[in-house]
Amino acid sequence: MVRKLIFSIFRYNPADPSSRPQTKKYKLEETENLNLFVALNKIREEQDPSLQFDFCCRAGICGACAMVINGRPGLACHTKAKDLPADISLMPLPGFKLVGDLSVDTGTWFRSMNEKVESWVHTDKKFDPQAEEERMGNDVAEKIYELERCIECGCCVSACATAQMRDDFLGAVALNRIARFIIDPRDKRQEKEYFEVVGTDQGIFGCMGLLGCEDVCPKHLPLQDQLAFVRRRMGIHALKRILPWKN
């Protein structure tokens, strides 16, 4: 039997003086292989053309369509209706500024995060266009790529209790990024410099270890391992600072 789905969707358009935050219901018949990308576009095109939401690649690669789906942050594009009950609630990701309805401003947040953690290779070397590339073991490259697979969707931030309590918490995404540079031999930063970036309550020591981040990460990044890795490195560095003869 074809299910009748009922979508309860958060609606608010800050640019419309008559708009008030509310949940609106939309009915949709379930079709074969229906996912939330198709469903939301159907609702927009057939029922309410003002409905705001974000999709881009619609293939689980770009991270644009993160939202809270029945209470859990996830990518809408790869969420199938058949895996959900007939009542589906959709809310915008918390922790990011609302643009309208299900659309949030992740760009500003992530740019600021990338600036704070100085998310680039720090090196004194100049690029020499004539020279062969610097050699790297394939196993090292694959380890870096494993962490590089983050798509900055924001799910880990929205599922993080610390991030919900303090705006300045960097979140698992930033700590994973730091871990990525720690294992990259091209990045010449020393422990001390990483410590300055993440050795604080805004960084690794703010993490309460609840690991909502790992639970919701749509790319299944090993965030728990990375948090432990960064915490251990930064913890040892903090101890060394207290015990000067250890330096």
């Binding site: 358009n13 800050p14 640019a15 419309d16 074969e32 292989n33 996912n35 927009r44 095109e45 309410d48 053309p49 003002s50 409905l51 705001q52 881009c56 690649c57 619609r58 293939a59 689980g60 690669i61 770009c62 991270g63 644009a64 790869h78 199938k80 643009v99 309208g100 659309s103 992740t106 760009g107 500003t108 992530f110 740019r111 990338n114 600036e115 100085e118 998310s119 680039w120 290779v121 070397k125 690029f127 266009p129 020279a131 062969e132 590339e133 050699r135 790297m136 073991g137 394939n138 090292v140 490259a141 694959e142 790529y145 590089e148 697979r149 798509i151 900055e152 990259d184 091209r186 990045d187």
Partner: protein
Amino acid sequence: MQIIYSDLLCIGSGLAGERVAIEAAQAGFDAVCLSLVPPRRSHSSAAQGGMQAALGNCIKGEGDCPDVHFLDTVKGSDWGCDQEVARMFADNAPVAIRQMAYWGVPWNTVVPGQSCYYKGGEKLEKEEKADCKGLITARDFGGTAKWRACYCSDGTGHAMLYALDNVAVQSGVKVHDRTEAISLIHDNEKCMGAVVRCLKTGELRAYLAKATLIATGGFGRIYRASTNAIINEGGGLVIALDTGVVPLGNMEAVQFHPTGIVPTDILVTEGCRGDGGTLLDVNQERFMHVYEPEKAELASRDVVSRRMTEHIRKDLGVKSPYGDHLWMDIRHLGEKHITTKLREVYEICKNFLGIDPIHELIPVRPTQHYSMGGVRTNKDGAAYGLKGLFSAGEAACWDMHGFNRLGGNSLAETVVAGMIVGEKIVEFLKENETGFDTGVVGSGLKKQQERIEKLISGEGKEEVYAVRDAMQDVLMDYVGIFRNEQDLSLAVDKLKEIHERANNIKLKSNGLGANPEMAMALRLPGMVRLALCVAYGALERKESRGSHAREDYPERNDRDWLVRTLAYWKEGSELPELKYEPATTIVEIPPGDRGYGGGKIISAETKEA
């Protein structure tokens, strides 16, 4: 009205746009990038399999060099490319890829020793050399003589985009994301910037700059079924075309990728076939080697897509509720290979098809994928027609791809063109000053403001999504892989009518703020003009070359059609005006046989019949 000044305005913040912006920022200029989405969500991130650069590090790439890469590119283009540009490209690709490594891309590297690989379903052995250990390795891709597609698993574009955006942040490139340029500000001689709509608030702004770059990627979304991200609607091409003085080159050259999945049209990388995956028909039998004895599954994309369509037309496709398709088989590559080297493919199959490619076949068919055409530029990336306007990447017709792009050459183009055009823009910024005519800026803003008001409270009758569907139907039905006069004439007639409808839209919603219906209504008339450039250009080009396959003119005609189409659009017209220029002024390799595809050629020496 807010006015924002900069030295360089990059419209588009994918790999090409950001690479150019970095060049300018590192030379001390103020660079602002506009982007429909946060820059790391740009469609560059979806490029999976690899970037072509003739490093020749891996054993199956031994002896590779820019000359071979150049030859492959020219053959791939079916001699439609500008050979001077293709040469610059091939020569600079090794530099660009090493720079990406320097900037942090974790390229897969050579592991010395014995390993096995697959070709046409057959298991073969190779031995990598010890002295190449740790250098960037490569995989096989279609239409190439050597293994040349350098990769990071199958998230190559993602890794490159993240590395490049890191450098953009480091270099102080400003990115204004969720903004859309909806017209260029110009006086028919020079470009002064763009009128831009903020997609967070709906407000209009003017961005004024000494130099403006269009790097908005392709326009695949004029088709219903496309591997492109939904943002690839050709906005940058539209604003260039709408100036009336900037032409779009070779718009009829549209690439169909052999392996879009069915349904949903998401791409699975050419790396699947490069790594030894095979195409199977309804009887689960290989067929490509029958059509293409030498290259088999690894002929160029235009050829494989045509052969697949031919095979489906022989009723050897697999029936499905979504139409006929074929199978891709990567099962023999094994679990380890699939979950490491083809990881995105694995996830896409699991998440979007609910199948496990380690044990099951993947349903695929040719799907719109890439736009060889775009804003016509010279070899420096400077657009024809307006001083101070540049273009790079898929949005541009620079033109190294001619009538068919080789897999892995688009990622390479973004960073190679970004580097070369970036240097030229820096020269331009150093040598030129400009003035901004407030009258031109004001009237440009006013015109767009009036369009917006008319959509909210005008007399329009049409609904935006119905008109968009009508346009997509026409392209899907009549402007596909195989083309003919009857279909194309019909397409042009229908699109003319749809263009009128697109100019007669009224919103159903109130249009306030970041209203998505407004955004689509503002884009749509321009998208229909792009569709007309494709269909009309295809109708007029009476030959078959690369991806442009005419059933009624099956020969490649070097006597009459070794030319590039230039489409201009005069305001108020119902069709583009087509002009032509020689495909290339420098000829290193005279037109010849590609070695695959089996097409007939009318050579330039042939006398007119």
